[in-house]
């Protein structure tokens, strides 16, 4: 219980820090707000695609080597401080199996539209609750986010022997 309280407190603290206000509403208000929110939840979030510029991603079964290399380059520079290629969580979640859990649109929106994802997408919010560090905006271009996705698919094949399982779900 103590742990939970601490967690809730920390999350509240982070929200206050990130948004510069709020965080002390009554429970009932929170509930009704939540209900209202569910009504207004964008279709893309309900579909597990998150929210942002990326609406549909066409994947090919064959992986694109050029994209993998570009994706690896960006990953090493901008992502590897917090995300390992294994399933080990350090600052952020480990990447192994990510394309089996998340739809490609969700992954790319998380990379390119992180602030809105953390405000609106419940799955992203759950991860924030687990990791306690707000993922920074690394200003990755859409094209580069697509390359990172290809690199993550490749990494999933390497680490788990399968990829893109989230699409079939």
């Amino acid at each position: 219980m103590k742990k939970l309280k601490l967690t809730v407190f920390l999350i509240a603290l982070m929200i206050v820090y990130a948004c510069g206000g709020g965080g002390s509403e009554q429970k009932s208000e929170q509930q009704s707000e939540q209900q209202a929110k569910e009504k207004d939840t964008p279709e893309s979030i309900k579909q597990g695609k998150g929210i942002g510029e990326v609406k549909e991603v066409e994947l090919t079964v064959e992986l694109d080597d050029k994209m993998i290399e570009r994706g690896r380059e960006i990953y090493e520079m901008k992502c590897s401080s917090c995300h390992k290629l294994t399933d080990q969580r350090v600052v952020g979640p480990g990447f192994a199996g990510v394309t089996n859990r998340r739809k490609p649109e969700w992954i790319m929106n998380m990379i390119t539209n992180v602030d809105m994802m953390l405000t609106e997408d419940p799955e992203a919010q759950k991860l924030l609750e687990e990791c306690l560090t707000r993922m920074p905006n690394q200003n990755v271009k859409l094209e580069d986010a697509r390359a990172i996705l290809e690199f993550l698919r490749h990494n999933d094949m390497d680490k788990t022997g399968k990829k893109d399982q989230a699409i079939e779900i």
Binding site: L10, D65, S80, T133, P136
Partner: protein
């Protein structure tokens, strides 16, 4: 002036100073009326309409304020080391402060000049002079960082600088103190025989803003004080006030104030350009430094220059003229049309306004009253537009509102006076608190002033604010000048001693603001472009730490194998790619400063551990909720110890060989597996 007159004059001045400085706050409350607060109020979350850049005087820096709110936006380090962000301490920025005198970590910054295109501010660069070690600096207005410093050789006290021409062709400057050229060991009382002045033209590259000393004009040994360049009709000419035409070298406050008039130098720089093209210059060996930051690495490089090109007006006619100007002038300011030039004789009761077309006519007709060292002296009356009679005491500096009005500061009578340039009629006067030096109207020196506000920068503060012991912040006062009468709307303390300022509409700068440096464009030789590339390398006594910073950890954060006597270079790369996420770096026992590293940037701090032990390092900029956790340890062993060099983050420490190759091998293996 005879002795008796002088004593009377001195008494009068003392009386006035005593009178003005003993004013209490009641006087100023009288001049504030109505909705003053509303006019200066910028609501929370709203932006100011103008940027104002104020020089810092003896701070050596520049401050950027928002107007009309008077909000301090940033202090930009220029000529002085700045431990707050490591400027002048980091390995990248140390060379910025190199000069022919060695590393000079301080200066006295005076006059701000914004770059111009067709006589209007274009919002690209800001130039400012260093007075004590003659230098001119350039600040990039997309990053608000000092990116270039050029020393000016063979001058002393570069006060008269760095005045810009209307297409930023040149920055004009003059020596404040004449000195022997080249420097030599001579008795001071051989001033008249040995001391000379120089007027300097620094060219500005229109694409990159890079500065180069184009030529210097050898002048009589006077004190060159302030300057302005012609604009529109008078483009191609420069006007510089001089004082001490008496050529005194001691007790200048008396001996340099003997003559009724000093001189204004008038330079035809287009003519000078022609002489340069014709090769009519002499070359002289000298020494001065040019320090420039490379945009892709962020590293400053110092280069010594050894040659200067001199033009001599004695041999080159039609290039330089003089005209008398009332006693010990300070500012000489050109109105927006370029036709009128105001000479502010600070010890004169009247102000002379010259007419450019009359000056040209006098030159054409050779209406001269003799010459000095071959430089013709234009007849005073022939060049005069008219005299502003008894406008106040101690006129220092004039700017314009673009509606035909001029505004002049009066130091001794402590006021700003508004007058009509054409008719020379005085229209309004308002007290300032106290004793203003320069004033600033945004765009006030350009062809198109923005005549809404006027900022007076005062030299004496006294009772304006809550006391802070003997040393007080200088005060500035903002006036609304949109109506017939000037209206005081704000009073705020400033940093250092602002001598001059320039103001510019925010929309000329705001859209170009750099928010972070693109990490992919970082070509710093010690950049660590990704946490997997962090490493520690030893080369003799030198140890290079390739470190990264990301919310909320430094990598590596445990390092062993340093030894007493090592020179440890922490090269910290900030991997963030978002606005307003600098990381700091400080390590205990560092005798220099901290680093602030902007997103995408690499900065280097030298650490020379003196004692055995384990020392903490940490991020100094509150970057995230877990900022307090952003820290690490460095283990220092005795010299010659066999503790191996090891480092790591959240894992067992690895040694040098392993770490250098592990990441590469891993990447290679996965690449191969995918084929």
């Amino acid at each position: 002036m005879n002795m008796k007159n002088k004593i009377q004059y001195g008494f009068w001045m003392l009386f006035l100073i005593a009178f003005t400085t003993s004013c209490d706050q009641k006087d100023s409350t009288k001049v504030v009326e109505g909705n003053a607060a509303e006019q200066a109020y910028v609501a929370p979350g709203e932006y100011d309409e103008y940027y104002a850049f104020l020089s810092g005087g003896y701070s050596g820096q520049i401050t950027a304020y928002g107007l009309p709110s008077g909000r301090l936006l940033k202090e930009i380090p220029v000529f002085s080391q700045y431990p707050e962000n490591g400027y002048g301490y980091s390995e990248e920025t140390k060379p910025m402060l190199n000069s022919s005198y060695g590393f000079v970590p301080w200066d006295d910054s005076h006059h701000i000049e914004l770059s111009q295109t067709e006589g209007e501010f274009d919002g690209r660069w800001l130039f400012v002079n260093g007075n004590n070690t003659p230098r001119i600096a350039r600040v990039d207005l997309t990053t608000f960082e000092t990116v270039e410093i050029l020393e000016i050789p063979d001058v002393a006290g570069l006060h008269c600088a760095p005045f810009i021409t209307e297409n930023s062709e040149y920055l004009v400057s003059g020596t404040r103190f004449s000195v022997p050229i080249p420097q030599k060991d001579v008795p001071i009382d051989t001033y008249k025989e040995n001391f000379k002045g120089l007027i300097n033209y620094v060219s500005v590259d229109p694409e990159h803003g890079h500065m180069e000393l184009a030529f210097q004009i050898e002048m009589p040994g006077y004190n060159y004080d302030l300057a302005r360049n012609g604009k529109a009709v008078s483009h191609g000419w420069s006007f510089l006030t001089t004082y001490n035409s008496e050529q005194a070298h001691s007790l200048l406050e008396v001996n340099a104030s003997q003559k009724d008039k000093d001189l204004m130098a008038i330079v035809n720089w287009k003519k000078a350009e022609e002489y340069m093209e014709q090769g009519k210059f002499t070359e002289r060996q000298t020494s001065y430094y040019h320090n420039l930051i490379d945009e892709s690495t962020g590293i400053a490089e110092s280069k010594e220059q050894t040659l200067t090109k001199i033009l001599n007006p004695k041999e080159l006619p039609g290039m330089v003229y003089f005209i008398p100007v009332p006693k010990s002038p300070h500012g000489c300011d050109v109105d927006p049309t370029g036709e009128y030039i105001v000479g502010n004789g600070k010890l004169s009761a009247d102000m002379s306004v010259y007419s450019f077309s009359k000056l040209m006519k006098a030159i054409e007709e050779e209406n001269f009253d003799g010459d000095i060292d071959g430089i013709p002296i234009i007849n005073y009356e022939a060049g005069l537009h008219g005299i502003v009679k008894k406008p106040g005491l101690g006129p220092l500096h004039t700017e314009f509102d673009g509606r035909g009005n001029a505004y002049t500061t009066f130091f001794i009578s402590s006021e700003v006076v508004k007058w009509d340039v054409e008719t020379k009629e005085i229209l309004d006067r308002q007290p300032t608190f106290y004793s203003p030096g320069h004033l600033m109207i945004p765009g006030g020196e350009t062809r198109k002033p923005d005549g809404k506000y006027l900022l007076a920068m005062n030299k004496i503060t006294k009772d304006r604010y809550l006391p802070t012991g003997p040393e007080l912040a200088h005060s500035a006062q903002l006036f609304d000048i949109s109506g017939d009468k000037m209206k005081l709307i704000l009073d705020f303390p400033t940093k250092g001693e602002p001598h001059y300022a320039q103001g510019i509409k925010a929309d000329k700068i705001q859209p170009n603001a750099v928010k972070f440096y693109d990490i992919e464009a970082n070509e710093h030789p010690y950049a660590t472009l990704g946490e997997g590339k962090t490493k520690v390398e030893r080369d003799g006594d030198e140890v290079h730490v390739y470190m990264t910073a990301m919310r909320s950890h430094l990598a590596p954060d445990n390092i062993e194998g340093f030894q007493v006597g090592d020179k440890v270079y922490f090269h910290v790369t900030n991997l963030e790619q978002d606005w307003d996420v600098p990381h700091g770096f400080a390590v205990q026992g560092a005798t220099n400063a901290e680093l602030l590293v902007m997103p995408g940037q690499t900065r280097t701090l030298l650490w020379e551990p003196k004692k055995v032990g384990v020392y903490a390092f940490y991020c100094t900029d509150f970057c995230s909720a877990l900022h307090q956790e952003m820290s690490g340890y460095a283990r220092v062993s005795p010299k010659g110890s066999d503790v191996p060099l090891k480092w790591g983050l959240n894992e067992e420490l690895r040694n040098n060989q392993q770490a250098a190759h592990d990441f590469y091998d891993e990447a290679k293996a996965t690449a191969e597996a995918s084929k």
